[in-house]
């Protein structure tokens, strides 16, 4: 497969869409490279996540970090999300009416756009592919816990899950809980713990250890 036309089953671009073969190839490469200590599954995961996350301004993360560190700001954000976000200079298209949803030990918020794929670009960058998928949009409303589980987020039974349906007029921003062990961290450091998934509500903020693995 390396040298074009060196194998009878390889005709360059004619075989490109044969998924089982290409999948087998990629698995083979990954398993061999990991065995030889050239890479690790984790570091590949981290890079893929970084690429998928680096799709636009993560202003939302700074809003969350400020809410974690500044109680007065948190209060303003709770009362009037739009104005509190505008305070940081983030305004404009698609963030006109933003309501901040605060996660706690007893309540977890997740938002979705069931009608289309409204997304607060200026706060969260470009929407992830799954956000626009019809199955996700339907299932998060009917079976939020199992959707969250698919994202690797298992919440205790006593935590109530609230699903919010966003629209062109009303946007949401989930403020995840501040992770433990972050007491001494600056706002800027804290913002790096806030993922897009956490602000949609399909994930939690990263722990410092998790974020450290990503740098």
């Amino acid at each position: 497969m390396f040298e074009p036309h060196s194998h009878s089953d390889n005709h360059g671009h004619h075989t490109w869409n044969e998924p089982s073969k290409i999948e087998a190839r990629v698995r083979a490469l990954e398993s061999l490279l990991v065995e030889k200590g050239v890479t690790t599954h984790d570091s590949i995961d981290t890079l893929v996540a970084a690429f998928e996350n680096d799709l636009g301004p993560m202003h939302g993360a700074k809003v969350v970090a400020k809410a974690w560190t500044d109680p007065a700001y948190r209060k303003r954000l709770a009362e009037d999300g739009t104005s509190a976000i505008a305070e940081l200079g983030y305004r404009g298209l698609q963030t006109e009416h933003v309501k901040a949803l605060f996660n706690s030990d007893t309540d977890h918020h997740v938002w979705v756009c069931t009608l289309c794929s409204c997304f607060p670009w200026t706060l969260l960058g470009i929407p992830p592919v799954w956000f626009k998928s019809a199955p996700f949009r339907a299932k998060v409303v009917s079976h939020p816990r199992s959707v969250l589980k698919e994202f690797g987020l298992v919440l205790p039974d006593n935590v109530k899950v609230h699903v919010w349906d966003t629209s062109a007029e009303q946007r949401y921003l989930v403020v995840p809980q501040r992770p433990a062990g972050t007491e001494g961290m600056s706002e800027e450091e804290l913002a790096r713990l806030v993922t897009r998934d956490a602000m949609i509500g399909v994930g939690l903020a990263l722990t410092p250890a998790q974020a450290g693995g990503a740098s």
Binding site: F2, W16, S20, A28, L29, S31, L32, T46, L47
Partner: protein, 117 residues
């Protein structure tokens, strides 16, 4: 106040015919194998196994060999070429042998091996 996550700076720019597949400005991985292939190349480059251009040159060759008149717009085709370029690079730099890749690939294809992890 425009700090970016440190990881992202390591992901090299690709433009023109080499641009990552995007849909409406959004990078597209149509299947997990594509993101794994992407991650492996960037990871090995980051850890100093090869200069980015070594990979890039081979990707250009693959794209030219595959569809000389088309800019690849389909993510599967692009990442197919990506995997071909990467495979060649691994063999040519001595990181893997062609025979062991072929053998391992066969094991995944016939189900002898199923999990990468």
């Amino acid at each position: 106040m425009t700090t970016c996550p440190t990881t992202t700076t390591a992901i090299p720019e690709m433009d023109g015919a080499l641009a990552y597949p995007r849909s409406n400005g959004e990078p597209v991985f149509a299947a997990p194998w594509q993101s794994r292939a992407f991650g492996m190349v960037v990871d090995l480059h980051k850890s100093g196994r090869f200069p980015w251009d070594e990979f890039k040159e081979r990707l250009i060759q693959e794209i030219r060999a595959g569809r000389p008149t088309d800019v690849p717009t389909d993510a599967s085709e692009y990442y197919y070429q990506w995997v071909q370029a990467f495979s060649r690079l691994l063999v040519e730099t001595g990181l893997l042998r062609e025979s062991e890749i072929a053998a391992r690939e066969q094991e995944f294809q016939n189900g002898v091996r199923q999990e990468v992890y």
